[in-house]
Amino acid sequence: MELFHNANIDWLGRKWYFLGFSLIFSVAGLISMGLHLAHTGSPVPLGVDFRGGTQVLVQFQNDPDVNQIRKATEAAGVNAKIVNYDTPDKREMLISLPEQSDASVDSGRKQIVDALQAHYANHATVVRVESVGPTVGQQLEKQAGLATLYSLIGMLIYLWFRFELIYGVAAVVAVFHDTLITVGFFALFDKEVSLTVIAAILTLVGYSMNDTIVVFDRIRENLRLSRRESLTDVVNRSINQTLSRTVLTSGLTFLTVLALYLFGGEVLRGFSFALVVGILIGTYSSIAVAAPMLVAYQGWRGSKGKAAVLPSAKRSKA
């Protein structure tokens, strides 16, 4: 069995469509983040991990009634947000409170649990509690952001060393593009970004980077073989040569991630959502963002009368 035998698609001829598509999605992501920022003060809905607050997941023996729970919590002086969680047959409710200060990390949980105990006695079980003070939340946010930034810089330096600076820059721009769009989806669908979602975003960064490097590697190899061909043709050919691999790998990874999204349960929902979106975008960007950027850069250098920067100058230990 074979896919794309001798594919001959002019990818770079479609670069304006790609650019348009990427712009639309990036701008849509930015706008929804902007709107979210204006409404709530943060560009994406942040989970308890980052924003601080208390979340109590409660399982009820009988079908829970939101109004009753609200009455019970309000009677205890708690103004909680109550939402249905997961499938109705599990009868789980997520009760949350915004956190006031570090000093009250523990009190929110006590208030909610006490209120439920008073009203439901043994008919409600606390399944999960998360209370995060604002200090830790901010630290986590800052630290997750910094770790991601540093790891991008690390990748950039490695690619610079193995290829050329422009290759590293193009790959990082593509990854950044993927992250922006994926995070934009979280803002658009009002899904909370938690620490596990960060792990998923890191996964997609790794995945997208992997995809881009495969294409770049082929470009480097082809450049070494045929020096007279124009870069546009080389890039096109390289993408076509790796197309089977791209579609196969992405398709299979997408399959795994989709299984996780469909059968992984509510705990993994945000996480697998990020991956489902991220795999699609990551695959697209290696072809439609990273590769055209290389060609555009060389074109720009050419227009200034400078020689092209080609990674073939560097020896790789084959």
Binding site: V126, V132, V136, I198
Partner: protein
């Protein structure tokens, strides 16, 4: 070639065995339960997967600095008094206790005071003149301050560990938290009731015995207590509230004047137990002092007969007692204690007091059932996804699909083996790392196979196609893997919690991947090609 191949196959089986041991150890039986327990003993599951409590605590190190400053203040006062150098007061700065101000000295004796201070405290403190010229400030040297703060955190960790051990939590994790200053991470598997745990961990109940300087009956208000000393409290005294059980019959709020520096306290206590109140109707705690503490207590009580001492719990006077004779190393405290208070008190006395107060910054519990639910669902999904991938590889690449499937399977075994040996913890984000690993593992195989197909299309024979295919794909695989390992290493260095868990499994997974996709797959191909008759085609 053949002999070489056998050696390689031996290496692969060796790795497989070592990794299987890493996952299972030597199981006690072959029943499902025995195998499951063997696995869970070696592969540590994160709290998000098995349930438990996760706390991040802030140590208020200023408390410890303050306690140290109080001691220094007492020493300075004594020094100046023995040298007949007068002063109005020696006090630590209320907001930054590492700065102590000595004020109201006689300007003509200024240089004497400075000499005395720098002789005795110059090593630990920087000494500067007050702007008025009639006093000095002593500022603790930064290295010493940092040391003191760091010690407070270390001692808090030790104390919390003792307390948690007494609770009987198995495999608790108590360590400094990498995110912020002076934070501690406490992870308690299997605990999903936070109330008791956080009470016990946070309890600062500190028992101290102070000399009573004012009326042993206490005063009705702070104002009254101050009036008794003409409106200004001597610098070596402090005022505390308490109820006066044992002295008067009422139990109203009273105010006591006490010597600031305690006779015994904190670390001087060795053990405590509740007095059985059922037959006597009295409540209290029996305590035992350490040798050094007992010695000090004996010296004090034998020279202060018929004076009063106050027993202070937390910052409240619990009891005032008259000293009738010398006491060495044990005694009783009676007073109004709730049953819980006694329990916590005796408990904290046994384990030692915290050097500083502690607050919770983060508290999470995951019920064990939720944990096992998410494992089940996660594993089912991952297995389903992986099976689909494996079936597809077989259909698409036929014979070579077996290589990929074996490599993928071995990859997972090695990854889990690594986890078993390194005692790294498998968390939910760790599973994300596994997914990326599987994705990249499949990718390595696809890269190689597509390359081999290309070479065959170009008219090369099986052996040469395999050779060339691997050689070309190898460069790409190294680039993709090293890039990702670089980023995983950085995430490991700068990340905490979930980000770190992700980085660990990813790094292990990619190392395993390099081995399986390149080395193992190659060996399988080679043995395959060797068995082929010339001219036969490769199944790919």
């Amino acid at each position: 070639m053949k002999k070489n191949l056998n050696g390689k196959i031996a290496i692969i089986f060796g790795v497989l065995l070592v990794c299987l041991y890493g996952i299972f150890g030597i199981p006690k039986g072959v029943t499902g339960a025995a195998i499951t327990s063997a696995i869970t003993q070696r592969i540590h599951l994160g709290l998000d997967l098995r349930g438990g409590a996760h706390l991040v605590l802030q140590v208020h190190v200023k408390d410890a600095v303050r306690a140290d400053a109080d001691n220094t203040v007492a020493r300075i006062e004594q020094d100046l008094q023995t040298n007949h150098l007068t002063f109005t007061q020696v006090v630590p700065n209320p907001d930054s206790p590492h700065i102590i101000t000595v004020s109201g000295i006689d300007p003509t004796k200024s240089s004497d005071v400075r000499n005395e201070l720098s002789d005795r405290y110059g090593v630990e403190y920087d000494i500067a003149s007050l702007s008025g010229g009639n006093g000095f400030t002593l500022t603790m040297k930064p290295s010493l301050l940092a040391d003191l703060e760091s010690k407070a955190v270390d001692q808090s960790i030790d104390t919390i560990r003792d307390r948690v051990d007494q609770l009987g939590v198995s495999e608790p994790e108590i360590q400094r938290y990498g995110l912020g200053e002076n934070q501690i991470l406490v992870e308690l598997p299997g605990i999903d009731n936070l109330d008791r745990v956080s009470d016990i961990i946070q309890s600062t109940s500190r028992l101290e015995v102070h000399e009573v300087t004012g009326d042993p009956q206490g005063y009705a208000s702070e104002q009254e207590a101050l009036t008794s000393v003409n409106g200004s409290l001597p610098p070596d005294e402090l005022i505390l509230h308490g109820d006066s059980q044992g002295i008067t019959s009422d139990s109203q709020d009273h105010v006591f004047r006490l010597k600031r520096v305690s006779i015994v306290g904190g670390r001087d206590f060795r053990d405590a137990s509740a007095i059985d109140s059922s037959d006597t109707g009295r409540q209290g705690v029996n305590f035992v002092l350490t040798n050094a503490g007992g010695e000090r207590f004996y010296d004090y009580t034998s020279t202060h007969i018929h004076t009063y001492m106050a027993i202070v719990l937390g910052s409240r006077v619990k009891n005032v007692a008259i000293i009738n004779g010398a006491i060495r190393d044990n005694g009783q405290i009676e007073g109004q204690f709730s049953k819980e208070q006694i329990e916590t008190l005796s408990f904290t006395l046994r384990t030692g007091a915290l050097p500083a107060s502690i607050t919770q910054l983060e508290a999470r519990t995951v019920g064990a059932s939720l944990g096992s639910d998410s494992i089940k669902q996660g594993v089912v999904a991952a297995v389903a996804g992986m099976l689909a991938v494996m079936v597809f590889m077989l259909i698409y690449y036929r014979g070579a699909g077996i290589n990929a499937d074996l490599a993928l399977f071995l990859n997972l075994v090695i990854l889990l083996g690594f986890m078993g040996y390194s005692h790294a913890t498998l968390t939910l984000p760790g599973i994300a790392g596994v997914i990326l690993t599987i994705g990249m593992g499949v990718d390595s195989n696809v890269l190689i196979f597509e390359r081999i197909r290309e070479e065959m299309r170009a008219g090369k024979g099986p052996a040469q196609a395999v050779d060339q295919g691997f050689a070309h794909a190898w460069i790409t695989i190294v680039d993709t893997h090293v890039t990702t390992i670089v980023s995983a290493a950085i995430l490991f260095m700068f990340g905490t919690g979930p980000v770190k868990g992700f980085a660990v499994t990813l790094t292990f997974g990619l190392l395993a991947n390099l081995f399986t996709a390149v080395f193992v797959s190659r060996v399988i191909f080679d043995s395959h090609v060797n068995h082929k008759l010339a001219g036969q085609k490769l199944s790919i």
